[in-house]
């Protein structure tokens, strides 16, 4: 190993590659839990649904509010809202993930080859990326789906991903450009590695956090757009999804009937899923850019409020140390000195971050 190998943002130092979940930024953890819950519901939800979501009752002429049989009430034709939700989350998550995977795949291919190959292929691919980026996606989607006789979830996901890749491609291209000029890539080239091997084993591993962020962003875009399209009646209305639930509730005048249990749950579910994804993305952002982290903590050090541009805070003796990254660090080091050398992971972390080398 040479010292000139400096990973850009993603790859953490070797000793920390297996981080504890609790050591990730708070936002990322909350986001991961929310998204994880939805993925769980997407897999097992349909088996947990107490009723057939499409079942109707002839005798029922109006929506019934939440009660013990129907925990989230019923629609105006007697469908169980909770069951529709549990079944419908799968389709919504499916569209989001499928579009996310295809679009991210496209962005990585276009972004990396554009940034790494340079020259005419870079000019051409950048032109394509920027051009698709400025085209308004939703009107185009509306036109395409309007022409298609029937839009299944898979078709919707596919069309969404064809229009959703340029944003990620741009970010990945910029990162590849900066990576290409680094010493370790030059070293790999000198040892005679092929272009594709360099791209796959040198470039892409250093862009993992960026690719992850662009994946999460694309999933969010795909979910919000597909729900909106289905709500407009242009998506797959023959299957239950959060979007089609909203479409049918709008169609059944849920709002004018005051049937909040009909339209609020699917809408809030989309909002929570979306928020989970946004938080996850913030967390990934903060992993890459530590300045954004611990906003509240940095402001108050030793009980004194500091502006970001204020001179470095100095801790006076005897003052209570509260919160704050620096404050916590100082506190722990003091604690460490009192107790003497310790083997717990927490302490070795501090040693690692202060002295810059890891033994354990």
């Amino acid at each position: 190993m040479t010292t000139s190998v400096v990973p850009m943002t993603a790859a953490p130092p070797v000793g920390r590659s297996r981080r504890k979940f609790s050591s990730y930024p708070f936002k990322a953890r909350v986001g991961a839990i929310i998204v994880g819950l939805f993925v769980f519901l997407a897999i097992f939800g349909p088996y947990m649904a107490p009723f057939d979501p499409s079942a109707t009752k002839d005798t029922q002429a109006y929506p019934i509010g939440p009660n013990l049989t129907h925990l989230l009430g019923t629609t105006s034709i007697g469908g169980d809202v909770l069951s529709q939700m549990l079944v419908g989350i799968r389709a919504t998550v499916f569209v989001g993930l499928t579009a996310g995977v295809i679009a991210t795949f496209l962005s990585v291919i276009v972004g990396v080859s554009s940034g790494f190959l340079g020259g005419a292929s870079d000019e051409g691919l950048s032109l394509l990326t920027n051009a698709v980026l400025v085209l308004p996606a939703l009107p185009l989607l509306v036109v395409i789906l309007g022409y298609l006789p029937s839009a299944s979830n898979l078709v919707t996901a596919f069309v969404l991903s064809v229009l959703g890749w340029p944003w990620g491609a741009r970010v990945i291209r910029a990162q590849t450009l900066s990576l290409r000029r680094r010493d370790f890539v030059a070293a790999a080239r000198e040892t005679g590695e092929s272009t594709w091997r360099i791209i796959i084993s040198e470039i892409i591993p250093n862009e993992v956090s960026l690719i992850a962020a662009s994946f999460v962003g694309t999933v969010l875009y795909a979910i919000l757009t597909s729900v909106a399209l289905t709500f407009l009646g242009l998506g797959d209305l023959s299957n239950w999804s959060l979007g089609s639930m909203l479409y049918w509730s709008q169609n059944g005048n849920a709002i004018t009937l005051g049937a909040w249990w009909w339209y609020l749950p699917p809408g809030l579910a989309v909002a929570f899923l979306g928020m989970g994804l946004v938080l996850l993305n913030f967390g990934l952002d903060e992993l890459g850019n530590p300045r954004l982290r611990d906003a509240a903590g940095q402001r108050k050090i030793a009980g004194h409020a500091w502006r970001p541009a204020d001179p470095t805070p100095v801790v006076r003796d005897g003052e209570p140390l509260r919160r704050g990254l620096v404050a916590r660090l100082v506190e722990r080091i003091v604690h460490l000195n009192k107790k003497g050398p310790s083997t717990s992971a927490e302490h070795s972390d501090i040693v690692a971050s202060t002295k810059g080398d890891v033994d354990e």
């Binding site: 920027n130 400025v134 009107p139 036109v143 309007g146 969010l220 509240a296």
Partner: protein, 327 residues
């Protein structure tokens, strides 16, 4: 002027993609406007199909290349075909009626939301961890809520329950559109709620981006130097830090315009607003293909022009681009 020529090339290419996609979609997918018209008016004889095709200019005569050239020629003459829905009105005349509604409402809302979001982002970054900054989680939530859902709830609360604003439409039904005081008043009153929902949902994005860039900028040495010189906080924030931190926001304006248009489309559907988006929705549900395509083309071109304007602003704001040293 490498910067501007490069951008112009991008827009020209984007316009070409839009036109070409528009040309090929109807030819790749079975069914056309004439058949839709036949389906709508059952009394028409099968032999009339050809006549209708000629009338709408969609009979696929000649080679594909010839049709393509013809199509582009028509576009440059403002000839977008005839709407099957508003027959015999041309697509261009339908657009002339609906475009101003969207442009005025969405344009104003976008500018307000951009300005407000940017200013709030600057303040949130400066008073980091302060009250404004603590609002961020709530704003995150707003950003994740599907726009139409928020708009539906706004209609429910403000229009159905409290009767503060009208439920929808662009103006009171009894009025005839025109430049009369009563009509303008009514149109303004009807636009408040749609505009507010657009501003509230899109502002969060501007604010978050501005805050994050601003935090990085505030950490720069030149900002510290400005403070050390004893300049007032206000001067440091606005003329030193914000002046530079705003650049990514202006650049991001172009990218997010697509989302603004998307929000506007759905907004018009929720509020039955007489703009381009609602017309597009109606065109899709009634298989009015020429109108659908015409609207897509006009929306694309409007977005491209708005992008160009954003570039000019960027050119003014960032002297580096003027020197032609694009890094």
């Amino acid at each position: 002027m490498k910067f501007i020529t490069r951008r112009l090339a991008t827009y020209a290419f984007a316009a070409w993609i839009a036109i070409t996609v528009n040309f090929f979609i109807p030819r790749l997918i079975p069914g056309n406007a004439a058949e839709a018209m036949m389906a709508k008016f059952h009394s028409l004889q099968p032999a009339a199909l050809h006549a209708i095709e000629v009338e709408f200019g969609i009979g696929h005569q000649g080679s594909l290349f010839h049709q393509y050239i013809q199509y582009i020629d028509n576009i440059f003459h403002g000839n977008l075909g005839i709407s099957t829905n508003f027959y015999p009105a041309t697509v261009t005349s339908v657009l002339k009626q609906t475009l101003p509604w969207t442009l005025i409402l969405v344009g104003t809302a976008t500018v307000i939301s951009f300005a407000l979001g940017t200013i709030l982002g600057i303040l949130a970054a400066w008073r980091r961890g302060g009250k404004l900054d603590q609002l961020l989680p709530a704003l995150t939530f707003l950003q994740a809520v599907p726009y139409f859902f928020l708009a539906l709830i706004a209609v429910e609360v403000f229009a159905v329950h409290w009767h503060v604003f009208p439920i929808g439409q662009g103006y009171s039904l009894g009025l005839a559109p025109g430049w009369t005081w009563g009509f303008i008043q009514s149109a303004f009153y009807h636009s408040i709620l749609p505009a507010l929902t657009l501003i509230v949902t899109s502002m969060a994005g501007w604010m978050l981006q501005m805050r994050n860039v601003m935090i990085t900028t505030i950490g720069e040495d030149y900002v510290l130097a400005a403070q050390a010189k004893g300049l007032s906080n206000r001067r440091v924030v606005w003329t030193y830090a914000a002046r530079n931190a705003i650049l990514p926001n202006i650049a991001g304006f172009a990218i997010s315009l697509g989302f603004v248009v998307a929000g506007a489309l759905v907004m018009e559907f929720v509020f039955s607003y007489p703009g381009v988006g609602y017309t597009l929705y109606n065109a899709v549900t009634s298989d009015d293909f020429p109108l659908m395509q015409g609207i897509f083309l006009v929306i694309s071109m409007t977005v491209l022009v708005a992008n160009l304007l954003a570039d000019v602003v960027y050119l003014i704001a960032d002297p580096r681009t003027r020197r032609g040293s694009e890094s």
